[in-house]
């Protein structure tokens, strides 16, 4: 039966022949872009002169949603962050409140360490990416924070994103309008070439803002949790409801610093079940399954 099983699996291959390669030009453009968050140590000895300094950041490039809004707004001669009208500023602060009210690290004053020049260059370098801005909105530079440094020495930046304004959305082509409207206030974790995507406030509260590197260090994870969480216990996810390994495996216990839980765990995969503990040691939240999945084989819990 085993060979027959493999034959059945082969027959179920949705793409039995190799697809053509996508054009190389977009990749070369990304490599030629001139910015970086933190060049990886390994890259220093490999780095060719024109590409190397950008390579670490560029692994985050598709996930860093950036500032088409800035382009559009500049074309209209104003920026939401530079407005002098106090009423407008108050309204803007209120717009970020869902995030700032649950993340103390965003409420502290911004320092020069938060405005890391290389990080700002990254955000600026992506400003031409209209597609990403439509997807995730634009970064709120005034709320960017260097939250912590992980035990393995990587800086963890938190970058809030705001959706495009209704005025800007209304000027987009119809097919992009729907996508832009789906964007919401969210938060991205950026750390040493790692990104979390841009989950919204609800996903943050559900334990889904987790980043881990895509460049071979899959045992390193960075997670953001709301105020009042002092410690997190995470079990690795299971993709099968029929085999709830999460109930039998050992959890990873992580102490939270400045809303960030950073941990290393070999062969961890996705976080599944989570328990969040308050400062007194009491459980403040239970999450059944923090993982997500994707088609065509996703087995969503």
């Amino acid at each position: 039966m085993s060979e027959r099983a493999m034959d059945l699996i082969r027959d179920a291959n949705p793409f039995p022949t190799e697809l053509p390669a996508p054009p190389i030009e977009p990749v070369l453009r990304r490599l030629d872009a001139n910015a970086t968050v933190e060049p990886p140590r390994a890259a220093r000895r490999l780095r060719p002169p024109s590409f190397g300094t950008v390579a670490a950041v560029l692994s985050t490039a598709t996930a860093v949603a950036v500032a088409a809004l800035a382009i559009v707004l500049l074309s209209h001669g104003r920026s939401p962050h530079t407005g002098t009208n106090p009423h407008q500023q108050a309204a803007t602060s209120a717009a970020y409140r869902p995030l700032t009210s649950i993340l103390g690290v965003l409420r502290r004053p911004q320092t020069s360490a938060d405005r890391d020049p290389s990080l700002l260059r990254v955000l600026d370098a992506q400003a031409h990416s209209r597609r990403l801005a439509i997807l995730d909105g634009t970064p709120v530079i005034s709320l960017v924070r260097l939250a912590t440094v992980t035990p393995w020495g990587a800086k963890v930046f938190l970058v809030p994103y705001q959706p495009l304004t209704p005025e800007v959305i209304s000027k987009l082509p119809a097919k992009e309008r729907e996508v832009a409207r789906a964007a919401r206030l969210g938060l991205e974790i950026l750390s040493a070439g790692t990104t979390s995507g841009v989950p919204g406030v609800a996903q943050l509260a559900g334990g889904r803002d987790v980043a881990n590197p895509a460049s071979g260090r899959s045992d390193r994870y960075v997670m953001v949790v709301p105020d009042g969480v002092a410690k997190v216990a995470l079990w690795r996810s299971t993709s099968s409801k029929a085999h709830p390994r999460t109930t039998h495996s050992k959890p990873v216990i992580v102490t939270v610093h400045d809303n960030v839980a950073a941990f290393r765990a070999r062969a961890f995969g996705f976080p599944g079940r989570e328990l969040w503990y308050g400062p007194s040691g009491k459980v403040v939240k239970r999450i059944a399954n923090a993982s997500s999945c994707a088609p065509p084989l996703g087995n969503c819990a």
């Binding site: 390669a21 590409f51 084989l297």
Partner: protein
Amino acid sequence: VDSRARFEALYRAHAGAVRTYARRRSDPQTSDDVVADVFVVAWRRLGDIPDDPLPWLLGVARRVLANSRRGVAREEALRGRMLSEQATAAPPEVIPRAADPAVLSALGRLRERDREALLLVGWEGLEPAQAARVLGVAANTFSARLYRARRRFERALAAESAASSNRPRSAKAEVL
């Protein structure tokens, strides 16, 4: 210049395979993004890429895909964009072949690591030693995992078949 030429040769030789791997597990846009991400990593670690680069590249693709799946908001936006793009002029896209739903369903019931072991061999056509490198495990470990995964797949498929053969009977009973 040598590095650049080597990189471009690597891309020409393997970008299609990486795209196919990603496309078998995600939507068209995500798969193209994965290819770009994988080769950005490949450029950064050009000196670390082994002589047989495909398992290494697929290993990176696997982790890139895993990361992209965590961005729930991004996924939702992508889904919205896919819908809106499909409604307008969609670029020519290779149509996935229709597959036995029972087999897909049985695969979907497996744990991710079991499923990936089966798919690396069954869909990507890798030798067990290559598949082991994709997953970053020893060849013997992979062989054992593949053996167990096959068993679990067979059991899941049998359960699927039993369930599907029961469905028409109960429907008929309702009609009668």
